[in-house]
C-alpha cells in the first residue's frame, strides 16, 4: 500500500514546475528577437537557418519546456502516479532541456556541427529519457482515466520525435552519415505536432475540461477512438512513404482532429459553469485554430503548392492551437500549486490563514486576460508575416511582448509565493513562541 500513498499525494514542490515555467518565456523572447533580427528569412522557407532555429526555440524551449514542467503536476492528478524522483529528475531534465534547446537553436542558425551535436546529445538524453521514464514507470499501470490513454500515446510520440530529431541533428552536423534529411524532417515534424503535441493537449483536455468547467464528459470510447485516429494518422503520414497514399492517413488525422475540435467546442458550449474565464476562451480559441489548421493542412495535402502553407501550418498549430492552451494552463497550474502549498502550511497554523492569498492573487484573472489578448495579437501578427513578409518585424516584436507578459506573470507568482511563505513562517514562529 506504500505505493498508493506515493501515488496519491504526489504534489511536486513549487520549485519543480516553476524552474521550467521561468525558463520558457526566456526562450520565447529569444525566438521573438530572432524573428525581429532575421525578419527577411525567418519565415521565408522552412529550410532557412533562422526558420529552423525559430521553430526549435519555440517547440523545445517553450512548448516542451512547459509541457515537461506541467507533467510533474498533472500526471499524478490524472491518475498516472508521480514521476520517479520528482525533484532530482527535474534537476536533471531541466538543465538538459535548457542547454539542448539553446545549443540546437544556435546550431541550426549557424550550422555549427559542435552546437548541433551538443544539442542533439543533451535533448536526446533529456527528452528521450524523460519520455521513457514517463512511459515505463508512470503510464504502464492500468489505472487512470480517459486522459492517460492519449498521454501514453503522446509519450511514444515524444520518444520517437526525440529519436528522429537526434538523427536529423547529427545528420546535419555530419553530412557523411547521408540520412534522408527531407523525408525524416517531415516525419519528425508530423510526429512532434500530431503524435506528441496534439495528443498531449487532447489527453489533458479529456479530463480537465469536463471537470473544471463542469461540462459533459467526452466518454471513454470517444476519447480512445479520437486518440488512436490521431496517432495512427500522424504515424501513417510520417512513415507511410511509398507504401501508402498519404491521403489515407491524412484523412484519418484530419477526421479525428476535426471530430476532436468539434467535441471540445460542444463540451465547452454546454458547460454548466458559465463563468467566462480566460481558460475557457483559450480552449475555445485553440479548438477553432485547430479547425483552421486542418483546413490549411487539407489544402496543402491536396496539392496547393504554395510553400508558405507549410509555415502557416506550423504557426497556426504550434503558436496557435498548442501555445494558446499551454500559456493559459501555465497560469492556472502555477497559481494552484503556489496556493495549495501555502495553504497546507496554514493547516497546522490557523493564525496564518489571513495571510493566505487566493489563486487569483497569485496569477490574477486580469493577468490571464492580458496574456490571452497579447498572445492572440502575436498569433495574428505571425500569420500575417507568413503571408506578407514585410510585417515580420512586427511579428517579432509582438512575440517578445507575448512572452514578456508570460515571464512577468510567472515571476510575479514566484515572488508572491515567496513573500507569502515568509510571512506565514514568521507568523507560525511568532505564535509558536507564545506560552
Amino acid at each position: 500500500m506504500k505505493l498508493v500513498t506515493l501515488r496519491i499525494d504526489a504534489l511536486p514542490p513549487m520549485r519543480v514546475p516553476l524552474r521550467f515555467y521561468l525558463t520558457a518565456p526566456v526562450f520565447g523572447m529569444l525566438a521573438g528577437s530572432l524573428l525581429l533580427v532575421e525578419s527577411d528569412t525567418a519565415l521565408a522557407s522552412r529550410w532557412m537557418p533562422a526558420a529552423l532555429a525559430l521553430t526549435h526555440l519555440l517547440t523545445l524551449g517553450v512548448l516542451a519546456m512547459v509541457m515537461v514542467g506541467s507533467l510533474f503536476q498533472v500526471l499524478p492528478v490524472l491518475g498516472g502516479g508521480s514521476i520517479p524522483g520528482t525533484g532530482r529528475t527535474a534537476a536533471v531534465v531541466h538543465p538538459l532541456l535548457t542547454i539542448g534547446s539553446g545549443s540546437l537553436g544556435y546550431g541550426l542558425l549557424t550550422h555549427s556541427a559542435g552546437s548541433l551535436t551538443l544539442g542533439a546529445a543533451t535533448l536526446g538524453v533529456g527528452l528521450g529519457g524523460f519520455a521513457i521514464l514517463v512511459g515505463t514507470r508512470v503510464l504502464r499501470r492500468q489505472a487512470g482515466g480517459d486522459a492517460l490513454f492519449a498521454i501514453r500515446l503522446a509519450a511514444l510520440g515524444m520518444a520517437s520525435t526525440a529519436a528522429l530529431g537526434l538523427v536529423l541533428a547529427l545528420g546535419m552536423a555530419w553530412p557523411s552519415l547521408g540520412i534522408p534529411f527531407r523525408l525524416w524532417t517531415d516525419a519528425h515534424a508530423l510526429l512532434g505536432f500530431g503524435a506528441l503535441t496534439l495528443l498531449l493537449v487532447m489527453g489533458v483536455s479529456f479530463q480537465v475540461v469536463p471537470m473544471f468547467h463542469v461540462a459533459p464528459p467526452f466518454g471513454t470510447r470517444t476519447t480512445r477512438v479520437l486518440s488512436l485516429g490521431v496517432f495512427a494518422g500522424a504515424l501513417g503520414l510520417a512513415f507511410g512513404g511509398e507504401l501508402l497514399d498519404p491521403r489515407w492517413p491524412g484523412a484519418a488525422l484530419g477526421l479525428a482532429s476535426t471530430a476532436y475540435a468539434l467535441a471540445l467546442l460542444t463540451r465547452l458550449h454546454r458547460r454548466r459553469r458559465r463563468r467566462a474565464e480566460p481558460l475557457v476562451r483559450a480552449w475555445q480559441l485553440a479548438a477553432t485554430l485547430l479547425l483552421v489548421t486542418i483546413a490549411v493542412g487539407t489544402a496543402h495535402l491536396s496539392g496547393v503548392g504554395d510553400p508558405r502553407l507549410q509555415i502557416l501550418l506550423a504557426a497556426l498549430f504550434g503558436y496557435g492551437f498548442a501555445l494558446t492552451v499551454v500559456l493559459a494552463m501555465l497560469g492556472k497550474i502555477a497559481a494552484f500549486l503556489a496556493f495549495t502549498h501555502l495553504q497546507r502550511q496554514c493547516l497546522r497554523a490557523p493564525e496564518a490563514i489571513p495571510l493566505l492569498p487566493t489563486m487569483d492573487d497569485i496569477v490574477g484573472s486580469r493577468a490571464a486576460w492580458t496574456q490571452l489578448g497579447v498572445h492572440t495579437l502575436a498569433l495574428v501578427a505571425l500569420c500575417a508575416a507568413v503571408l506578407w513578409p514585410a510585417s515580420a518585424p512586427l511579428a517579432g516584436a509582438t512575440m517578445i511582448a507575448d512572452f514578456a507578459v508570460c515571464g512577468r506573470n510567472m515571476l510575479g507568482a514566484a515572488l508572491r509565493y515567496r513573500r507569502a511563505e515568509r510571512a506565514i513562517h514568521e507568523t507560525i514562529a511568532a505564535t509558536g513562541q507564545r506560552p
Binding site: 527577411d40 532557412m48 550550422h111 527531407r182
Partner: protein
C-alpha cells in the same frame, strides 16, 4: 559571379548564415535551363539540399577544389553535368 562554360560559379564559403542560402536561392531564380550552378561551400548545406528537392531541382555534391565542398545544381530534366 563567374562563368565556367554553361556553369555559374558562386562562392559562399566566406559568408555567415543565412547569406549562403539567400545568395544561392537568388542565383537559382536566374538559372537558365541547360546550365548549372556550382555552389562553393565550406560544408555540405543539408537544409539547402532538402529545399532543392522540394523546388524540383537536382543536385550533386563533390569535394571542391577552391573550397571544401562544391554542390552542382541543375533543373530536373536537363542532362546531368
Amino acid at each position: 559571379m563567374e562563368w565556367e562554360g554553361s556553369a555559374r560559379v558562386l562562392d559562399v564559403s566566406g559568408l555567415e548564415a543565412p547569406e549562403p542560402m539567400v545568395r544561392a536561392l537568388a542565383a537559382l531564380r536566374e538559372l537558365p535551363r541547360g546550365s548549372w550552378l556550382v555552389l562553393q561551400h565550406r560544408r555540405v548545406p543539408i537544409p539547402l539540399l532538402a529545399m532543392l528537392d522540394e523546388m524540383g531541382l537536382r543536385h550533386r555534391t563533390r569535394p571542391g577544389t577552391a573550397t571544401d565542398v562544391e554542390v552542382l545544381i541543375w533543373h530536373d530534366g536537363d542532362p546531368e553535368p
